[in-house]
Symmetry: C2
Subunit: 266 residues, 2 copies
Amino acid sequence: MSMNFLELEQVARDWTYEAGEKVKQSLENPIHIESKSNPNDLVTEVDKAIEQFFYEKITQHYPDHLFLGEEGIAEELTSLEGTVWIIDPIDGTMNFVHQKYNFAISVAVYHEGVGMIGIVYDVMSDEMFRAVRDSGAYLNDVELLPVLERPLEESIVGINARWLVEGRNPYQNPLRALVRDLRGTRSYGSAAIELAYVAADRLDGYICVKLSPWDYAAGAVLLEEVGCKISTFQGKRLSMLTPNTVIAGKPQLHKEMISGYVGEEL
Amino acid sequence: MSMNFLELEQVARDWTYEAGEKVKQSLENPIHIESKSNPNDLVTEVDKAIEQFFYEKITQHYPDHLFLGEEGIAEELTSLEGTVWIIDPIDGTMNFVHQKYNFAISVAVYHEGVGMIGIVYDVMSDEMFRAVRDSGAYLNDVELLPVLERPLEESIVGINARWLVEGRNPYQNPLRALVRDLRGTRSYGSAAIELAYVAADRLDGYICVKLSPWDYAAGAVLLEEVGCKISTFQGKRLSMLTPNTVIAGKPQLHKEMISGYVGEEL
């Protein structure tokens, strides 16, 4: 049976809006925060509740689909065979906790390893970035056009300043050189939103030393749909099962950032 | 004659909304860009037209008021005596050009050197941050509460990554140390918006190696109204006639960022 991914995207989008309403309602109450692996890796009850919401919807309506989420509600996946939902219930949890603003629900559907649906919903701005493979990408109801290139020295790239200072990061020097050569940098604190901004031409590129699949699975679908590239720093295809370095951008900029700055295997 | 600054703020706010409409309309046409002192210091026809709009309104309605604007339409000021409007027609011109998003109109009124009115209007998000000295600060119609302190290691500070890499910036090392110790950093590309975000508790602080008075004149009024501090890196009062280093934040964080990182005279 072949699946209709346009119909499935409509379902996924409806659930995402419903989840967004739940998140907004949760902001009326105090947020209970836990730390994960380190004190700055925050998780809230809301992250868990939203992941649970998607998990229940998916297992109920699509019992043969698989599930990969940031909070680890489902069993760990070892392959991308079949149809897999990859979900970050709240991307930008630090913003969620501190700003109550600038966070996103990220929902992707991969089929036999290929990204078919990408949804990034900036809840508080009510901006719905969405794409179905080979069917166009949209911001709300406006179609996103294939991106126009700019030279590197006129480009603005999303990068977090912490990657320029942290001692254990081997890419410090190439990233500092890149920041020096670009027109500007921005940092919004949500990888999903920043990847969506590249697709929407608000940023020319985005770069991060370490991300997990749920951070970029949906963004990757959006980016490919408008002709942008996303890969590891070495230009390799991103794994959807393990963390990766991530570099995204308009094709020429993506290529130049790799060849001139971060592409060397370290 | 004593001036009613609450009434004057209402007038300033109406003009700002009117200017915002003009900016939005201008985005329907191609933007003509010039460079100023360096290739990345952009200015557009829109910047100039909006400054001209305010200049004409002010000289017509308040002929005894003085005017200080980024685009230099009025005669240069040598003192802050009397009532002075300090205006940045588009703060975040790079965002305006590249993103058509995330830029602000910044309008301040100073009286005998004291900041009385501060307005920062994020045009595309329709967020109006506004304050009248001793009469409270507001985001749209919601009053901004006095800010709550967080420890430095749990704080998020607005800082542009370029200040961590540029050779001619003497604060590189203290700023890198600060970024290492904070919970996180953000960069939105508009000083006026980032200062308003500190006042609205979306950021705990903001730091920039060089800004001009029109970038921070309105933000300073907002910040002081919610109990935040803003000064030079050495903790001195900001000049409204010359460029300055600028550090802003919740009082304890502001103090610690100065004493522990950037306060030394270089």
